[in-house]
Amino acid sequence: MDRASAGLFGEVRKTLTGLWSLVVGLGVTGNQFYRRAVTVHYPRQTVDNLSTFRGPIELIPSAKDPMKPDCILCGMCEQSCPSGCIEVKSHFEEEPDAEEPKAQTPAGAASDPEKKAPPKKKKKTKVIDSFDLNFNLCSLCGLCVQSCPGSGLRFSHEAYLAGYSRSDFEFDLLARMRAKASGPGSAGSDSKR
């Protein structure tokens, strides 16, 4: 065999191996042809693994009164948010007057008309006005949930969010929490606001 023909033989063998690799490839796709589609065909089917999905954050209702959030209104979430999408508004309210026990005068001391007992300081508590989330800017980083010192915030698991304008995604978290607490079917429970 002279060199030319040996080279030709090698070329032919290479070509035949190449052609065989094509047939193998066809076999692979042919095999896949008969299998069921892997698509989850939305909206006829939906996925079932959303229980760990990071959806927009929501307030956790307190155990005693589901209409009140557990949030202590410290503002840590607002500070730690990188995008500035949380806005918490609150005001101080004085506690309502409770029944005061009679001031105990020390035994034997005559009541001095000039020395009056100082008036009892009324306790002031923070009351929530609004808790707004601008979901247009949220990056779902979780810094707010992590920085909350109590159990005020958590991720919801809503994945199917759609709207027609940016204002559809400016959430009033207090209203959403209350709507959820009143149960499905109540007014405003399926609205985004």
């Binding site: 094509l22 892997v38 065909h41």
Partner: protein
């Protein structure tokens, strides 16, 4: 004189009717084929394919056709108007003629009986290249020009092994008449020409992939490299006509393959046009299977395959067949 006149009139009417029927045939076929391609692609990729328009997406192509017809026919700035809009027509028109000599069924289901059916088909499919060339040139677009140059080089190159493999069958049968070739094959698969000439069939099939610009030889339409090649600038029905021309060419080429190698309208129990259509669609399915499996061949490798492998092989094949025909 009068008899001749009537003769000519009858033949003219026959031709006109045949052309109209074939236009309708092409139209329906394209509708089915586009959907079939997308559904088959979906199946290979483990996904549903078109699903929303019509039950299981069956009306998808119709919706696409309506969309295409409603689009603006925009001529790019600086383009040669006449050539630009003549190009799709020049690409599409010859394909209709190619259906004329094809026998769809045993008795009278041929557009026009002719002794040189094979030659007609080869000649007119060569004309389509001219349209592509015009499209690329008149678009006034660098991408189109490069795409057209590639397409022309490819089509011209792959015509040669195509011709040679078809000639091999013609040698064996002794006629270029497609009806004769079909009638010469029997009903059962072992009586078809592919058993006698498998190499010719292989060469023929690969050449048709090159002729019709189908993957893995679809570099002229390489979307990921040069946007859309020679039909970049066409919108709406201009593109629609190119699209139809491509699918119609595929059907022509698969029909020729069926007739030459797979027995045409012959079939196991009852001969008829249903076997013909089944085989044509089988070959089309294989073409789609190849498209959705393999990556694209680079252009110089494409031409190398043709000039270094296919053409010498086809010549060798022809020589062997000629020898066998002479000796046997």
């Amino acid at each position: 004189m009068n008899v001749l006149g009537i003769h000519i009139a009858i033949e003219l009417i026959q031709i006109v009717v045949a052309v109209v029927v074939f236009l309708a045939f092409i139209g329906v076929n394209v509708l089915i084929l586009v959907l079939m391609e997308r559904k088959v692609a979906g199946r290979f990729q483990r996904r549903p394919g078109p699903f929303e328009v019509g039950p299981h997406g069956s009306l998808q192509t119709l919706a696409d056709a309506v969309k295409m017809m409603a689009k603006e026919l925009h001529t790019p700035g600086g383009a040669d108007k006449i050539l630009f809009w003549a190009a799709p027509i020049i690409t599409f028109a010859p394909v209709v003629v190619c259906f004329m000599p094809v026998p769809f069924g045993p008795k009278y289901l041929t557009g026009w009986e002719m002794n040189l059916g094979v030659v007609l088909i080869l000649a007119f499919s060569g004309l389509g290249v001219f349209g592509i060339c015009l499209a690329g040139w008149s678009s006034n677009n660098k991408y189109s020009l490069i795409g057209a140059a590639r397409a022309v080089a490819q089509s011209v190159a792959y015509e040669i092994p195509l011709l040679l493999s078809v000639l091999a069958v013609a040698f064996q049968v002794g006629s270029l008449n497609l009806s004769v070739i079909t009638a010469g094959q029997g009903s059962w698969p072992w009586q078809w020409n592919v058993v006698v000439q498998p190499l010719s069939f292989f060469i023929f099939f690969v050449s048709t992939l090159g002729e019709t610009n189908r993957a893995p030889f679809d570099l002229p339409e390489a979307e990921s490299e040069l946007t859309a090649g020679f039909h970049t600038e066409y919108s709406g029905m201009g593109f629609g006509v190119f699209f139809m021309a491509e699918y119609a060419a595929m059907v022509v080429v698969c029909s020729v393959g069926t007739i030459l190698f797979l027995g045409g309208w012959n079939g196991p129990l009852v001969n008829g046009p249903w076997w013909f259509l089944a085989k044509v669609y089988g070959l089309l399915f294989v073409m789609m299977w190849l498209r959705w499996t393999f990556p694209r061949v680079r252009f110089d490798q494409l031409l190398n395959i043709n000039w270094k492998w296919l053409t010498p092989l086809a010549l060798l094949n022809l020589l062997v067949v000629a020898l066998m025909v002479k000796l046997v």
